[in-house]
């Protein structure tokens, strides 16, 4: 209850911040003409990154016939859906004229990467919803049949959603077919959403963004932060819903290996992304990279690299590090490090334009988010957590039917 209360409070503060932004304009943020994209955009990238977890855990592992991940699929999918919804919300928050949102559909230009982003995000949302729904159908039958105390509205909702599911052979055949198709389809779509999001930066000329590496770099980062998020959720749900029997230490052990692999992969891409331009030190890149390595942004940069990648790798290389509690801490480190990494991708580049920053007031040359921006950004994160929390209260967070099936096939 406290948890939900805190989250709702944060959301309300965020809503008030947004109200101020709607009435006064984006001037309440500290974004100005040079740093014209700030933590709303870095939050957007963060959300899109986390939403890739659905495709990883649910689809890739499923298609690879990995069985231990079955109990984790629903956690992954709800994180994915919630994250993609809030990605859309935070991007509308960043718009200077949100009431003209329909222009995107009425006057949309196919040449614009933003339109590509709108299409893929919308598509990914629907695929993720389907991937939540199909495996949920057998569970709904169990829930409907459940005689324990259940609020009337919940029973009604279960029946509305899936009373037609009888568990016949033909139904299972169709459902399995659908899930397989979805798993296959979600992988390229998931690759697409984060690649297209990375293209919002890579299609510009700016130092730090003008990189051919960006698609792969972003995707590897997304898989890492998604895996980290799942680890955190695993631990929390296991503890609070007493799911030790279903989310066992073996699951943490396996996820630990997945996270270490993904962290090493992301580290590889980071080395490519930063070391090679630093070798050349082209003029526009020079100031930007020096700023990151040893300048204004150095503390945040090394925090993101060390806490987000390097320490987790070391901790997880040891078997003791892959126990539930250390895994939870590592998961938090990965997620927090990733949030700051996204901030480092967006802001420092904007402070190094090609032409000198002058002819503008002094505060245009610096950026630290205002309280409204923090409130709204935290509000969006709280909102995403709220959606996950409410979902877990209404639907079983571990897929009941599939886990049972899994157990039966094993024995």
């Amino acid at each position: 209850m406290i948890w939900t209360g805190v989250l709702i409070a944060i959301c309300l503060v965020g809503a008030y911040g947004y109200y101020r932004q709607l009435t006064k304009g984006l001037v309440v943020t500290n974004m100005r003409d040079y740093v014209s994209w700030g933590i709303y955009i870095s939050n957007f990238v963060f959300f899109v990154a986390i939403s890739l977890v659905g495709s990883l855990i649910t689809a890739i592992l499923r298609l690879a016939n990995v069985r231990w991940s079955t109990p984790l699929t629903r956690i992954a999918e709800i994180i994915a859906v919630s994250a993609i919804v809030f990605a859309s919300i935070i991007i509308i928050v960043d718009m200077g004229r949100p009431e003209r949102f329909v222009n995107l559909f009425v006057y949309g230009r196919l040449q614009s990467p933003i339109i590509w982003d709108v299409v893929v995000i919308g598509t990914y949302f629907f695929i993720s919803c389907f991937l939540l729904y199909f495996p949920l159908l057998p569970d709904l039958k169990i829930l409907i049949a459940n005689k324990n105390k259940q609020p009337k509205w919940m029973s009604w909702m279960y029946r509305f959603m899936g009373s037609f599911w009888k568990g016949t052979v033909s139904q299972f055949k169709m459902s399995h077919k659908a899930i397989t198709i979805l798993c296959i389809m979600i992988i390229p779509v998931a690759f697409a959403i984060h690649t297209v999001t990375s293209w919002l930066f890579a299609t510009t000329y700016r130092p730090g963004w003008d990189s051919t590496n960006f698609g792969a770099y972003f995707i590897s980062g997304a898989f890492l932060v998604g895996a980290g998020g799942v680890v955190v959720a695993m631990y929390v749900f296991r503890k609070f819903y007493r799911l030790e029997k279903y989310i066992t230490e073996m699951h943490f052990e396996k996820m630990g290996r997945v996270v270490v692999l993904l962290a090493l992969l992301y580290l590889y891409f980071n080395i490519n992304e930063y070391l090679i331009p630093a070798f050349k030190m082209k003029k526009p890149e020079e100031a930007h990279l020096t700023n990151l390595f040893a300048g204004e942004f150095a503390p945040v940069f090394w925090f993101a690299i060390l806490v987000g990648m390097i320490f987790p790798i070391f901790i997880l290389l040891f078997k003791k590090g892959r126990k539930p509690l250390p895994m939870f801490i590592v998961g938090c480190m990965v997620v927090v490090g990733a949030w700051f990494k996204r901030y480092l991708i967006v802001t420092p580049t904007l402070l190094h334009p090609f032409l000198p920053m002058d002819n503008a007031p002094e505060n245009f040359k610096h950026y630290f988010p205002s309280w409204e921006e923090w409130a709204i950004a935290m509000g969006s994160l709280a909102g995403a957590l709220l959606v996950i929390t409410f979902f877990a209260r209404i639907f079983p967070i571990v897929p009941i039917h599939e886990t049972i099936e899994e157990d039966e096939t094993k024995s």
Partner: protein, 309 residues
């Protein structure tokens, strides 16, 4: 300055003369008489040789009323024209009259500037110079490529314009522009000065009125060029730094001096900014050579110090 304005008078008079005596010597490159909105009211005046001529009253306005241009026409642009600008860096003394004129005539928010006068020094041993930069109105505009709603668009006369009734404020164009020329209306614009009342409003061509939450930039003053007049920065600069013209006519002028564009750029070794990015800008720069005044600070107008943000 008088020479510039009297030239403008001659142009306007040409319009008037054309209608007054039915003169058939119409300059094919000047806007035809049918572009001015006739009021219907006639007035009698005396010609030099004592003849009485009848003229529509609309022509007597210092700046004749133009008929309303639709949004579709604004998006198409003026046919047959190919606007270009040449900026002579050897003449710029950082007086910033261009900046104050442009800011004033477009109601740019205090503290922001559409024209930026940069203090440049390319390398340790090269010369310092002042570089005014406007929007480059690129022929391969990165800002237009990324706009999701067609709020910024390229016209047939070369101008890249912003429709602030359609802009959703995503600021992708600002990220995409390598010349950092765009500014954003972070809050409600300041109240318009009464002197702007004559300019067309709700028009992409004057960029008035400014709207909160939309983006703005130099527009090459299409409302002025439609009337055959020069953009405000060109008229405002006392040193003749800005030269504006039509590549299809192969000529640029700063109001007092007119040059053949191709000759000027060749003779003075003109160049474009960031040529290797492939944006194909329409603003050419003449290198700061043979400057006959020292490079100094402090001559600029004080008006841009009002940092409201």
């Amino acid at each position: 300055m008088d020479k510039q304005t009297s030239r403008r008078e001659f142009l306007a008079a040409g319009l008037l003369a054309g209608l007054a005596v039915g003169c058939s010597d119409k300059n094919p490159f000047a806007p035809g008489d049918d572009t001015v909105k006739a009021s219907g009211e006639k007035v009698k005046l005396l010609s030099v040789d004592g003849e009485i001529i009848e003229v529509d009253k609309a022509f007597l306005k210092p700046v004749p009323d133009m008929p309303q241009v639709t949004n579709a026409q604004e998006r198409l642009g003026i046919a047959g024209k190919s606007f270009v600008m040449v900026i002579d860096l050897s003449r710029c003394k950082n007086l910033r009259k261009c900046q104050s004129a442009c800011n004033h005539m477009h109601n740019v928010h205090p503290g922001q500037n559409w024209i930026k006068v940069h203090q440049m020094k390319d390398a340790d041993h090269t010369a310092p110079y002042w570089q005014p930069s406007t929007c480059m109105h690129c022929d391969s505009p990165p800002c237009v490529k990324v706009c999701p709603v067609d709020a910024t668009f390229k016209r047939q006369d070369g101008i890249v314009l912003i429709d602030n009734n359609r802009c959703i404020g995503c600021r992708f164009c600002m990220a995409a522009c390598p010349y950092s020329t765009r500014v954003f209306n972070w809050e409600e614009p300041a109240e318009e000065d009464k002197s702007l009342a004559e300019k067309p409003h709700d028009s992409c061509e004057s960029s008035l009125p400014q709207k909160k939450g939309t983006v703005g930039k130099c527009d090459f003053c299409p409302d002025m060029t439609r009337m055959g007049m020069l953009p405000h920065c060109v008229s405002a600069c006392p040193n003749g730094v800005f030269m504006f013209g039509d590549m299809n006519e192969d000529s640029v002028t700063n109001g007092s001096e007119t040059f053949r564009f191709s000759e000027l750029v060749k003779d003075k070794a003109g160049y474009r900014l960031m040529e290797d990015l492939g944006t194909n800008p329409r603003v050419y720069y003449l290198p700061p050579v043979s400057r006959n005044f020292p490079f100094e600070n402090g001559l600029e107008n004080d008006n841009d110090k009002n940092a409201k943000y």
